[in-house]
Each structure stands twice: as structure tokens, then as C-alpha cells.
């Protein structure tokens, strides 16, 4: 058994144990009203806490088994590498494109109309309703393509814009009552 697989299983075991204990001792008691068994007007029912308790116990036991097995050096399944740099970039790209999606429409409306017409009234009016989605969507496609290729190109931005626009039209033209992101949340 190689060291990284052992380390991985130890981490899974520890995380699983910690999470299961937290769920069992804090989350379930604090956030469920009826207990494992619920006594209700002289009748005894299965309470809402029964299923999550069993699930958390299952996680506890399996995490303990995985951790123990790793400590005893019995082989588990292999670990594949996780790159923190990649994860950080992905989070940044997701945050950036969602922010663009959420705020482009309101920002453009404010610039164009001032404060008299809120974006909320324009969520069914082209081109405003497309602005956030197309810009944010293009950013998502272009940035992820650039990330996995380690190379930025304007061609990908163009592909992103076209793809986002096509997706927007695919949903918006045939259907009257669908919202594109983020138009249902404003």
C-alpha cells in the first residue's frame, strides 16, 4: 500500500468520524424537533431523527473502518491527486462568472435608465434579460477552456459568447415563462 493511499484513507476516516460525530451530537439534536421515537397523543411513531441518526451511524462506522484499515496498513483503493491550485482557480472562475451573471443586468440598466426603472421590470425585455447570462456564461466557458489549456485566446471568448447566446435563445425563444439566470432572483 503506498503512502498517499494510506494518507488519503486516514483523512477520509478522520473527516468521516468528525463529521458523523458532529451530525450525531450537534446537528441532529439541535435541528430536529421530534427525536428518534416520537410519542404523539399516546401513539408511538418513528420520529424525524431516526433516519438521519442511522445514516450518521453508518458514516461513523464506515469511516472508522476505513481509517482503522489504513492504520493497520491493509490496502484500500488508490487516491488520485487533488491539485489545490486547480481547485482555487476553478472557484475563482465560478465566482467571477456567477457575479457577472448576477450583476451585469442591473448595472447596465442603472447606467442606461438611471434609477427610475429597476432591472426587475425588465427581466422579460430583450436585450436586458440576456445581458447577464450571456456575459457570465461566456466568461465561464472562456475561462475554463483557458484554464485547462493553460492558454487564453480570444477565439475561446468568441466561442463562449456564441455558446451562451445560443443556449439563451434555445430556452427563451420557444418558452414564454422560463427565466434565464439570474432573472428569477431579482
Amino acid at each position: 500500500m503506498n503512502r498517499s493511499a494510506k494518507l488519503c484513507d486516514c483523512v477520509i476516516g478522520l473527516c468521516g468520524l468528525g463529521a458523523a460525530l458532529l451530525i450525531l451530537l450537534v446537528w441532529i439534536p439541535a435541528d430536529i424537533d421530534t427525536g428518534v421515537i416520537d410519542v404523539w397523543r399516546r401513539s408511538v411513531r418513528i420520529g424525524d431523527a431516526m433516519l438521519p441518526t442511522f445514516a450518521a451511524l453508518g458514516i461513523l462506522i464506515s469511516a472508522a473502518a476505513i481509517g482503522l484499515r489504513a492504520l493497520l496498513n491493509r490496502p484500500g483503493t488508490g487516491l488520485q491527486t487533488i491539485s489545490l491550485v486547480f481547485l482555487a482557480w476553478s472557484a475563482v472562475i465560478l465566482a467571477l462568472s456567477i457575479t457577472l451573471m448576477m450583476f451585469t443586468g442591473p448595472a447596465l440598466t442603472a447606467l442606461w435608465y438611471g434609477s427610475e426603472v429597476p432591472y426587475r421590470r425588465l427581466v422579460t425585455t430583450a436585450p436586458w434579460k440576456y445581458s447577464g447570462f450571456v456575459l457570465g456564461g461566456a466568461a465561464l466557458v472562456a475561462c475554463f477552456t483557458a484554464l485547462v489549456r493553460h492558454r487564453f485566446s480570444w477565439r475561446n471568448v468568441l466561442i463562449g459568447l456564441i455558446a451562451a447566446l445560443l443556449i439563451a435563445l434555445m430556452y427563451d425563444l420557444p418558452f414564454d415563462n422560463l427565466y434565464l439566470p439570474p432573472n428569477g432572483d431579482v
Binding site: G16, R45, I59, I82, F144
Partner: protein, 540 residues
């Protein structure tokens, strides 16, 4: 209504129930149209290196529901499309395996062993024909088994199993899935328990939605489609992103597309393939009927059995058509049989069945499970009509497959060359959008991305995905059945251990979990991850 009347009603419902186009006496119904579209989409997606059938189903489901809404009329077109994709992707998957040596799914790996050598010898077209012939035969056989077995299984379940037995059967299936999927029992159990836990958020019977942390977003319950697609699709996309990012190679060196060349397949040659196809499709059907063990094992077993039977000049692995036939018949026979537990018990066995149950649950009017096959004398059971209509659509898809599949596979051979580095980001955007339009809430997108991250971590740490998804889908029926069994027994604490059947099921479940842990003591070593540039995007 008698059984024959139901079958007739189902056929009529599928073929003429919801007309899209009427030309004199010829009626083209929406369900049939959608099956055809789904089939073509499925072949296209299956033939695209980097995508697979479940991907297509995941993307199509929210889109279809947006199109057809939640009316009863939506049910058959949506299910038809999904069935079409399932069948199309199964045959389509052989195209890149044979012509480019890039398996689109793990089970198609076995197809490359003999398919690509044949293609290099200028027999690519013939290899495609063999793959198609074997795949359609396996699929058709498995569907027939489904049509016969599902109703009988359901009726006997309904007649002999009460509430405690049904609950025990669900526990048994879930344990089985947790243990057999992947190659680590404890990680499988952990995944299943994680699924149960996630599904218990904001469900339950108390007026306070449990585990919702006072949040109105959580109080509405996690959006099931976003959770399932997050773990299955978004998790896979991020795993592929990272592989590509790590390999950092601009493009994988394009494998030279082999010229299809000679593509005739005579009746005599077909007849010589039949023993291999017959063996493999039986293996595939048996494997498929058990929840959780998927196409990969079926393909491997089919190929091994074929190799033992084979006595020809060309050995397996050097371009023997029998090798392709043995593989493709086995993995295609899984798809129909997999719907046996799904339709008769409501227990999904693989990703395709998950999406079919999800579609039925979301649209309503059809609840896969024993009650579907109840036929009463005077009252019409609409679900039974839907079930037979669904069978009709599967037959329609098979007919299309027999007639046009081979031609379509060849047509697509050289067509699809969009690099994954561009395709997958677009698929990600499409996924986010189709989840959003369903509910018009950004919170659903956040749920999608959260479970995408969970799916990514599970893949990277060897925790299998399928037990999570199946547990998530099964939680509600399981909990409801257990509660009802307990309350109907007058709150007897031993309610699960009455009679013979329920304790027997539970003992089997315990034996599987404990036995596998003991047997597996040394889990099979995982093959070292292939260099990223050669890996393909797959689900499950």
C-alpha cells in the same frame, strides 16, 4: 379491463395518444417522435468522444421538463426521449471505440480490443456492423425479458409482500448496491449513508423541516435533479477539467480515423456470431437485473466467455469480430434488464434507471413500483397503460435501431471532433442553465455546484457515486414504508422481524455487508490512473 386490453391501450396511447402530426390516416405521436429524436441524440452523444449516455440524459431531463411541463401528457414523450437516448448511446458508444481507439465509456474499452485492430486492417465498417448487430440483438432480448418479468415480479411482490417485507427488500437492495459498486465495501456504505443523510434534509413528517438550519432555501428541500446532476455530471466535468489541466496538453494527438472500408456482413457471418451474442446477452441480462452492477462487469464477463468459446483463426485481441460481438451484446443487454427492478419495485439499478425514475417522480402520474402493474376488473389503472405504452416505445426504439442504427453509426464516424477542452465548459454552462430554468432560483445552481464539488471529491478519493445516488432516490420510499409499517403494526418495535420473508431479506443484507467485507479483506487493486490525455469522460 383484461391484460390484453391494457396492452392494446398502451400501444394506442404510445402511437396515437398525443398526436404531433396528422396526415390522413397516418398519425405521428409526440412520444414516437421523441423516441426517434432521443435515439438520434443518443447515437450522436454516444459517438462523441468525451460524452456518454447518462450525460445526455442528465442534460435532457430538465430541458424536457421545461418543454413539456408537468401535465400527464408530458410523461410519455419525456420517458420516450430518455429511453431513446439510453439505446442510442449504447450503440453509439462503439463508434469512437472502434474507429479512434477511444472508448467513450468504461465498458466500451473491451470493444476497442478487437474493434480498433479491425479498423486498422481496413475493416472498420464491418466492425461497426458487428457491433451494431450484437448490440441491437442484446438490447432486444433484454427488453423482451423486461416485458415478461417486470409485470410478474411486480404482481407477486404486491400479492405476497406487506409493508415490513417491502421495507426489508429495499434495505437489501441498498446494501447490495453499496457493497458491489466500486471495489471498496466501506466506501460504498459511506456513500450510501451520505445519500440517506442528504435526502433527509427538509423531508420528514414534522411541521418543522428537519436539518434545515432555519434556512428557507433548505426548508423547501434539496432540489433532487440538481443534487443528482451535480454529483453525476458536474463532479465528472471537474474531474475531467483537472485531468486536462494536469496533462496540460493542448490536444490529444488525434488518432488517425480509420477508414471504414469494407462493411458487408453476410448472413452466414452473422449466423456464426450468434452463439457469442446469445451467451453474452444472457450474461448481460442476468447482470442487468441485479441493481448496481453495471455494464462494465457484463462486458468483461461477456468478453471472457467469448474468448473461451472462440476457436477461429483470428485470436481475440487481434481483430476478431466475435470479440466485438461478445462485448457489445453483453453491455447492451444490461440496459433493458436494468429497468426490471426499477419498474417493478421502484428500485433503480443504474444511472439510466435513476433518470427514468426521476422523470416519473418529477412529472407525476406514474410511480414506478408494484402498484403500476395492478389491473382491476372495472377501473382503468392509468399507470399500467403508461407502462405498456413505455414498452411500446422501447420496441419502437429497437425497430429504429435495427433499421437505421448501422447507417447512422457510419455516418457519424468522422463527424464529431469537437475538442473536450471546449466541449466540457459548454456542457457545464448548459447544465447550470437547465437546472436554473426549472426553478428560477440561483440557490438551485449553488446546490448543483456544491454536490458537484462533493462528486469531484468522491471520485478523487475512491468513494463510489452510484450508491449515493441510489440511496438518495430510495430514501423517501424507504422511510415512508418503514414509518407506515411501524404505525400499521400498532407501534410494535419488532415490526421488521415478523413472519419469515422480512427477516430473511434482512439476514441476506447483513450477510452481504459482512461477507463482502470479509471476502474483500484485500480489495482488488485499482489500475493506475491512465494518463489524463487518454482518459475519457464517463459517469458511474
Amino acid at each position: 379491463m383484461g391484460v390484453l386490453d391494457y396492452i392494446l391501450a398502451g400501444i394506442m396511447e404510445a402511437l396515437t395518444g398525443n398526436p404531433a402530426l396528422v396526415l390522413g390516416p397516418i398519425v405521428l405521436s409526440w412520444p414516437v417522435l421523441l423516441v426517434a429524436l432521443g435515439f438520434l441524440t443518443g447515437v450522436l452523444i454516444g459517438a462523441t468522444p468525451g460524452l456518454s449516455g447518462p450525460f445526455a440524459m442528465a442534460l435532457a431531463l430538465p430541458i424536457l421538463i421545461s418543454i413539456f411541463g408537468f401535465t400527464p401528457d408530458a410523461l410519455l414523450p419525456v420517458l420516450g426521449f430518455l429511453v431513446g437516448i439510453m439505446k442510442g448511446a449504447t450503440v453509439g458508444g462503439a463508434v469512437p471505440a472502434i474507429l479512434f481507439n477511444t472508448p467513450g465509456t468504461p465498458d466500451a474499452f473491451m470493444t476497442t480490443l478487437d474493434g480498433y485492430p479491425m479498423a486498422k486492417k481496413g475493416q472498420g465498417g464491418k466492425a461497426l456492423r458487428v457491433a451494431h448487430f450484437a448490440s441491437v440483438s442484446g438490447d432486444t432480448f433484454s427488453d423482451i425479458v423486461l416485458f415478461v418479468c417486470a409485470p410478474f415480479l411486480a404482481i407477486s411482490i404486491e400479492a405476497f409482500l406487506g409493508l415490513p417485507e417491502k421495507a426489508a427488500l429495499m434495505i437489501l437492495s441498498l446494501s447490495f448496491v453499496a457493497v458491489v459498486v466500486g471495489n471498496d465495501t466501506w466506501k460504498g456504505i459511506m456513500a450510501a449513508c451520505f445519500g440517506l443523510l442528504a435526502a433527509s434534509i427538509a423531508t420528514g413528517t414534522d411541521s418543522y423541516p428537519r436539518l434545515s438550519m432555519g434556512s428557507d432555501v433548505l426548508a423547501a428541500g434539496l432540489p433532487t435533479i440538481a443534487v443528482v446532476i451535480g454529483v453525476l455530471v458536474v463532479g465528472e466535468i471537474f474531474t475531467s477539467f483537472e485531468d486536462m489541466w494536469t496533462s496540460a496538453r493542448e490536444k490529444r494527438p488525434e488518432p488517425a480515423a480509420a477508414d471504414p472500408g469494407d462493411s458487408t456482413l453476410t448472413m452466414a457471418k452473422r449466423r456464426r456470431l450468434l452463439p457469442f451474442i446469445g451467451t453474452s446477452m444472457t450474461i448481460g441480462t442476468v447482470i442487468g437485473a441485479l441493481p448496481g452492477i453495471g455494464t462494465t462487469l457484463a462486458a468483461a464477463l461477456g468478453y471472457t466467455a467469448g474468448r473461451k468459446m472462440h476457436k477461429g483463426a483470428t485470436r481475440f485481441g487481434e481483430g476478431a469480430p466475435e470479440g466485438i460481438a461478445a462485448t457489445e451484446a453483453a453491455n447492451s443487454a444490461v440496459s433493458g434488464a436494468n429497468l426490471i427492478p426499477a419498474l417493478s419495485l421502484g428500485i433503480p439499478g443504474n444511472v439510466a434507471a435513476v433518470f427514468i425514475i426521476l422523470a416519473a417522480d418529477t412529472i407525476g402520474g406514474f410511480n414506478p413500483g408494484p402498484s403500476v402493474f395492478r389491473s382491476t376488473a372495472d377501473e382503468v389503472n392509468p399507470e399500467l397503460v403508461v407502462a405498456f405504452a413505455l414498452f411500446t416505445l422501447m420496441v419502437a426504439a429497437n425497430l429504429m435501431n435495427w433499421i437505421t442504427g448501422a447507417w447512422f453509426m457510419r455516418l457519424l464516424g468522422g463527424l464529431i471532433r469537437i475538442p473536450k477542452q471546449v466541449l466540457l465548459p459548454i456542457v457545464l454552462l448548459l447544465t447550470i442553465t437547465s437546472v436554473y430554468v426549472q426553478s428560477a432560483k440561483m440557490s438551485d445552481v449553488y446546490v448543483l455546484l456544491f454536490f458537484g464539488a462533493a462528486g469531484y471529491l468522491m471520485r478523487r478519493t475512491g468513494v463510489p457515486i452510484l450508491p449515493f445516488v441510489i440511496a438518495y432516490i430510495l430514501t423517501d420510499p424507504l422511510e415512508t414504508t418503514i414509518r407506515a409499517a411501524f404505525e400499521a403494526s400498532g407501534s410494535d418495535p419488532w415490526f421488521l422481524f415478523g413472519g419469515v420473508i422480512a427477516p430473511a431479506f434482512l439476514a441476506c443484507a447483513a450477510a452481504i455487508v459482512l461477507g463482502a467485507g470479509w471476502l474483500r479483506g484485500t480489495p482488488a487493486p485499482v489500475p493506475a490512473p491512465a494518463p489524463a490525455s487518454e482518459k475519457e469522460t464517463t459517469i458511474d
